[in-house]
């Protein structure tokens, strides 16, 4: 009995190590499953077409840098840099106006007794629920009347008015889960509602706001159909369009170029996420609530 007790104690002594080992083991195994397509994509950038489609292994047999060189040159008059810059010209303003407008509107919904609140909220949800493809043609006609075709305005301007119900709804949910003590205290200290929003509420829900920015950034990077329809000049294309420029039905496609450029196009999102995710660890959140 004493023997088993010692054994038990010995085992327990190593518990933290075993525990960490287990945790990292699981994290790494699942992480590998998650990262595999990225590895494959990077590997594929160095392969030729038949190897891309015939092997799931990611180490190329005869690696070549052609994919990156030719992919960067593109099949157009412009290099891939143009398309990366174009994408940023669309995505950055889009993210900024989305965040600002969504936070403001959400605050109105979450904290104010406004007339027709239920109806407005229902409309907000309706914008989330209706399949987007059905709106495409009417929206196109509308933006034609505005004279906005072949500009970035159809892609950006609506976002300044919080038309993406998804983000507003998300921030509303976070605001509603907050205790009100701090805001009430701020009001007693003489803050007006806007100061309460910017000084008290916004810092506390920063992780949510960052999530909104992240989602909008990544979804806009991947958006294909909208830029395709609204932009006709090649010099204005974003990356999502440029990536599919050389895929044709009759001509052989250099998939390594597409994979190589997809990898490069992925970098901004990956870096942004890596930088942003730390706000989910030790955000200003906990400090603010305690402080």
């Amino acid at each position: 009995m004493s023997q088993s007790a010692t054994a038990d104690a010995g085992w327990r002594k190593h518990l933290p190590v075993i525990n960490a080992f287990m945790r990292y083991g699981i994290l790494i195994i699942i992480g590998f499953m998650m990262l595999y397509p990225l590895f494959w994509m990077i590997g594929g950038s160095f392969k030729n077409n038949q190897e891309i489609f015939s092997s799931i292994g990611f180490i190329p047999k005869e690696p070549t840098l052609d994919g990156f060189k030719k992919g960067w040159e593109t099949s157009t008059e412009y290099t891939f840099a143009t398309y990366l810059i174009n994408t940023m010209k669309i995505v950055v303003p889009k993210v900024i106006v989305t965040v600002i407008s969504s936070v403001i509107v959400a605050y109105g919904f979450a904290r104010f007794a406004i007339p027709g609140r239920k109806l407005l909220f229902a409309l907000l949800m309706a914008t989330v629920l209706l399949p987007k493809s059905v709106l495409l043609i009417p929206q196109y006609l509308m933006f034609r009347e505005f004279g906005w075709l072949d500009t970035y305005l159809p892609l950006i301007a609506p976002q300044a008015f919080a038309v993406e119900g998804f983000f507003v709804f998300m921030i509303i949910q976070f605001m509603r889960s907050l205790p009100m003590e701090m805001e009430e205290a701020a009001v007693m200290d003489g803050c007006n509602s806007f100061q309460v929003l910017t000084l008290v509420v916004a810092p506390v829900i920063l992780p949510a706001i960052i999530s909104v920015a992240l989602f909008q950034f990544m979804w806009s990077m991947n958006d294909f159909l909208q830029p395709l329809i609204y932009l006709s000049s090649v010099e204005k294309y974003p990356v999502a369009l440029a990536l599919k420029m050389s895929i044709d039905v009759t001509e052989a496609t250099s998939w390594n170029e597409i994979l190589a450029m997809s990898t490069i196009a992925l970098a901004p999102s990956l870096i942004l996420f890596f930088v942003a995710q730390r706000y989910f660890v030790e955000g200003i959140t906990s400090g603010a609530v305690k402080g």
Binding site: F53, S75, T76, E77, L228, A252
Partner: protein, 442 residues
Amino acid sequence: MSDLTLAATRLHRRTLLLGAAAVTGLSACSKTQTSSSNGGAITLRMSWWGGTSAHKATLNALQLFEKRHPHIRVRGEYTGFTGHLERLTTQIAGETAPDVMQINWYWQTLFSRDGEGFTDLNQHKNEIDFSQFDARTLSMGTTGGKLNALAISNAARLMYLNKTTYDKAGLSLPDTWDSLFARGPQFKAKLGDAYYPLDGLFQDFIALARSYIVQKTGKALVNSETKSLNCTRADMHEYAGFYAKMISDHVWPSAQVRASYGYLPQQEMRPWINGEFAGTYQWNSAIEKYTDTLAGKQEVALAPYPMRPGATDAGLLYRPSMMFAVNAKSQHPRESAMLINFLLNDPEGVRAMETKRGVPVSKTAQKILRDDGLIGKLQQDSEDMLARLPINVLESPYFEHPRVRDGFQDILEAFGYGKITLEQAGDALYDDINAILHRIIR
């Protein structure tokens, strides 16, 4: 530095243009409209889809055209194939389509059912040399007496077989339907279950079976006047039987085998890449896309086209693979026509475009490229075969309507999965396809 040169050329062009305008008093200049007119110059918009080399060749040709006609600028609005039709459709619905458009043959039924959807190119006989085009090709761009679209190249599906695999099996390429049927069991016996003498998507099979039936009837399969199939119920039973035989005889992989690889183009399937699915019934314009992915050194050869005994027509769906059309509302139809002629008939334009859109229809263009040695062996073999084969039947474009194609596919698939009997499949092919045709042809 290069910016400076560019500016200088622009300036130069402008003076040239002013001079030209003053001398000849080009009517088009006075008509110049909103679309970015700089100093009386005309800007044409041209849209196309394509791959890397098609883009480069076309841009190159457009530059040469601008050099030739300094008062005209052409803005290329090009994309890959994905989404191109969606975009063009939206533009046409929104009346913002470009002046010159590359279209597929059957898109005429979408955008110009009555012949009014595009400019009638017959009005531009002075700009375009139509004598380079045969009557059949011209008729396939004509609706209601209006020449809506001009073919860049013609294409038909032919049988391209993996000679390396056939050699491995010690078998010759089939030259009749019967020898094709015989290759199934022979492949199975010599190379094993994984090997098939011919393969393709449902859409490829649907075209192959059409050819088989048309060789018997000698008529187009679809009659757009009567909005129905141009054959008997018995013919459709034979159509279904053809599929059943191809599958049971191991000539064509079954629906289950094909689907196990997911929804992907044939040239991206491992069995094709490795030579196990040793053939394709493919457009001659696209065959290079298929040979491109083959692993190692494998050779693809054009097989003799199988003919039924007594057939008077090969039953090929021989039609324009890509066409140029001019927007009916274009402000510059004349210049658009000039551009089309430059790309299709002018030696400079032809040399720039090469064979990136297939072997050109235009006689002069074909001659130029042949003399320059720019037409590959497989391409030349295909052209020669198409010239030899009896091809008289004109198929209705509605045969290529996606709804019709999917109608065929749904029935064959249901039969392939054992959901319906052969008898039911034959009936469904006749009844359902007729119903679909009736619905879509307006």
